[in-house]
Amino acid sequence: MALRPKRDFEFHDTRRDTDHESFLTHDGYRWLKIAGIASFALALAYVLIDPQPRHNGGTWYGYTLGTIGAGLIVWLSLLGVRKRYMTAARWSLKAWTSAHVYLGLALVVIGTLHTGFQLGWNVHTLAWALMLLVIASGIYGISVYATLPSALSNNRREMTRAQMVEALQAIDRQLEAAAQPLRQADSDMVLSALGQDVFAANAWQRLAGKYPRCATRRAIHSFAHVGDDDAYERVRALLGRRLAQLDQIRRQMRLKALLEVWLFIHIPATIALIAALTAHIVSVFYYWG
């Protein structure tokens, strides 16, 4: 540092700060302030303005809120395009993401005020509900990104994912050899344990981390009281090691699933929202009152 010319210092200092700054705190919560003030102002106006016969999407203020909301939704969904191009400065990707998060939260206020709290079983409320789903999944995404990566790291215990799989395969090879002397009914148990692909778990199993049909666990239970010769002892020990390794892999899968699931809602729901929004806008003007 001491060797660095002074004129470089400020540049590097800024860059270093930028590197360590979360998109949530970007630029001194610039977008939180903007979104907060905008939401408050729009909500205040909603209370002060008294349209006839009542607030809904069809009053002049309703159309204003609707236009702002629709514009925001389109802009927010463009993050998917924007994130593929990294730039610096005010409209850096980080700034964009920060604005995405806080303006997205402001959309709860804007979109809900636009409804005038008139909800029903129709395409208009579908659009509103999808909007809330997208926002809720986004909030979930941010919260799990704040908490889960450390848990994910702890669970790895200095192993890479490939190493976890390697370890399981090594156990499996030993198990296959060790099970050779077993009676057929017992070797079938081992075989079904070996045949069960740990990665065949469905989304729900991954998220819940519960595997009631785990063949390895079932084999351990069935071997608890049969055969006390060396071969059975070895198989029992190997099955125990296999289950421990499975547990680690499954915990890893669960944490990853919890970390990734929000995008499987956020992205398709965003696209569904754009479809419902289109249907909402077109239908309102198609059947105009």
Partner: protein, 597 residues
């Protein structure tokens, strides 16, 4: 002993084959997972002692399973198989394939090969990702996008554009599919029948609901006033509203006077809410400055800006038509009847005693009360016309004679008939034709065949007395002469005092009559007992009034659309009835009959 050449083919990790050969001479070739078998197959799907192969007749080989598990013979799972090794065969045990062949010198060759296990995903780290267990985000997005656009946009639009145009029918279902999802809320109760018939109102795509569509059913609805006068009365709109209308008219809205401007639909399955006061105030606030010839006072809020009421009454004797007079001028009414309310309502007076003596049998209580004469209409809002026979005759009897147990009564409402009846009253005292001689027997005075042939001089006196003040007619009626004959002036009791507003008495049943009508203090029938605006304002103030017990928009009393003649309706004032001169002829005058009687 049969000789077998066992050729074992293993694959290295790189896919290279390692071939080992050994010879066995045995009668029974054993196959299984156990190491002591001739063919040792290290696969957990193979039993310890799975099968045995023995020579059979005709150079055949026979394989049969030892345990419960079978094996595959040329792809089919069997428990026993016999085959000619010269022709070749393949037996499958677990993941192992045994291929049999026989060369020219009779040596049976068995080629043992393990099939490669199916490629699993465990080799890479991909399996950890949730994407491994879910359809791709892109696929889900496309599916949802197409489903929503199809169901909520394409289907309704297509069926709307291709429908057959029919006259709107309140009871019929619509033809457009899936447009229920477009409804922003339930229709009002009056329009409930159109709930599943959106296109009845939303006729053309991207065109707002037009007046002509509403008028297709509401044929009787008339304009509030001439459209040119409405536009003058409204005056120029504020800039903000002008901008809104500029946008709205682009999408087919018709302008500030259109039906949908005041009547909003899809606000829930209730009665359609009355239009807000602001819609009326738009024109009626300060209207006299714009519509200079108007007779209407300015009104924008019942509490703050509303003129004193004007009653439609007769004020002069001989007046042919009623006219509207502001209550602020304290007008006196002339309806042709003498009726002091205070005398009739005095609980200590003679009328009260009379009512008590008639009693409940005749519908009276301890004293005379308002409802003894003023009976509510079935609609609860207004009153039936006061009928002399019902309301007055209980005390003010028109009986003029008694024959045996039967009373003879003058016919009310027909002066000529009354005169004729009195003239013909043959029991009236007359001068005898011949004086000084009584008629004999039954023909004598008071006997059955008595008859009086003298001039009815006494009757004429009675007639004169009847019409005079205090007489049977003149007690209540104002006497006059018409075409030289005695008569009474027409009775003009308005059925409705307010022409442009409706008052619902039933809605005020918690109140006493005397709260608004000072009848018990009224000594003269010329007192107009209609309350002024100040009394209403005790409870009613404008739509937004916070202090008022009942915040009251214009539509609480006023109706916007004129009612066609002869169509009195419960929720509208019977304005036209009040403009008709009501003469007292109850057998002719009935509510709802607009012809003058």
């Amino acid at each position: 002993m049969t000789a077998y050449l066992i050729r074992t083919i293993d694959l290295t990790a790189t896919g290279r084959e390692i071939v080992r050969e050994r010879s066995i001479e045995t009668d029974a070739l054993t196959i299984g997972r156990a190491a002591e078998n001739d063919l040792h197959l290290a696969d957990l799907a193979v039993e310890q002692h799975h099968a045995v192969i023995e020579p059979a007749q005709g150079g055949h080989l026979r394989a049969h399973a030892l345990g419960t598990l079978g094996f595959a013979h040329d792809g089919r799972v069997v428990g026993e198989a016999s085959f000619n090794s010269q022709e070749g065969a393949e037996l499958g045990f677990g993941s192992y394939r045994l291929t049999f062949s026989q060369d020219s010198d009779g040596l049976v060759t068995i080629t043992q090969r393990q099939e490669a296990a199916a490629e699993d995903t465990t080799g890479s780290g991909e399996g950890f990702a949730l994407a491994h267990a879910l359809p791709s985000k892109r696929a889900m997005s496309w599916a949802l996008l197409s489903a929503i656009l199809l169901a909520f946009l394409a289907v309704p639009i297509f069926s709307h554009l291709t429908r057959e145009r029919v006259e709107p029918d309140y009871k019929a279902d619509g033809q457009v599919t899936m447009d229920a999802a477009w409804s922003t809320g339930k229709l009002s109760l009056a329009h409930h029948g159109l709930e599943d018939n959106c296109e009845a109102c939303h006729v053309d795509a991207f065109v707002a609901v037009r007046d002509e569509t509403c008028l297709a059913c509401h044929k009787e609805v008339q304009d509030h006033a001439l459209v040119s006068r409405q536009n003058t009365g409204r005056g120029p709109l504020p800039i903000g509203e002008q901008m809104q209308w500029a946008v709205a008219t682009t999408f087919g809205k018709e302008g500030p006077g259109a039906c949908t401007t005041c009547h909003s639909e899809h606000e829930g399955a209730t009665r359609m809410p009355p239009p807000a006061q602001a819609f009326c105030a738009e024109c009626h606030s300060g209207m006299d400055a714009r519509l200079t010839d108007t007779k209407l006072g300015n009104a924008s809020d019942f509490g703050d800006d509303h003129p004193e009421f004007q009653a439609m009454i007769w004020t002069e004797r001989g007046q042919r038509e009623p006219h509207r007079v502001s209550l602020s001028k304290k007008p006196r009414e002339f309806h042709g009847l003498a009726f002091p309310h205070d005398t009739h309502l005095d609980p200590m007076g003679g009328v009260a005693r009379m009512a008590a003596s008639l009693g409940p049998r005749w519908g009276y209580g301890e004293e005379l009360v308002c409802k003894d004469c003023h009976v509510l209409e079935r609609d609860g809002a207004s009153f039936k016309p006061v009928e002399m026979e019902q309301a007055c005759e209980g005390c003010h009897s028109l009986v003029y004679d008694k024959v045996g147990p039967t009373f003879r009564t003058l016919r009310h409402g027909d002066v000529a008939q009354m005169l004729a009846d009195l003239r013909a009253m043959d029991r009236a005292p007359r001068a005898p034709v011949v004086s000084g001689r009584a008629r004999p027997g039954q023909f004598a005075k008071g006997r059955l065949y008595f008859s009086d042939f003298g001039r009815p001089g006494g009757s004429l006196v009675a007639i004169n007395r009847a019409m005079a003040k205090g007489g049977v007619c003149g007690d209540c009626h104002t006497p006059t002469t018409r075409d030289g004959k005695p008569d009474v002036v027409p009775v003009n009791l308005p059925q409705q005092f307010f022409v442009h507003a409706n008052f619902d008495h039933e809605a005020h049943e918690e109140e006493k009559c005397s709260t608004c009508h000072a009848a018990d203090k009224s000594k003269s029938s010329s007192d107009l007992l209609i309350p002024g605006i100040a009394i209403c304002r005790d409870c009613h103030l404008g739509e937004d009034a916070k202090k008022a017990e009942v915040p009251s928009p214009c539509a609480m009393c006023h109706t916007y659309h004129p009612i066609p003649p002869g169509k009195p309706r419960k929720d509208h004032p019977k304005v036209h009835d009040a403009t008709l001169p009501v003469r007292f002829a109850p057998e002719k005058c009935r509510m709802g009959d607009p012809t003058p009687c």
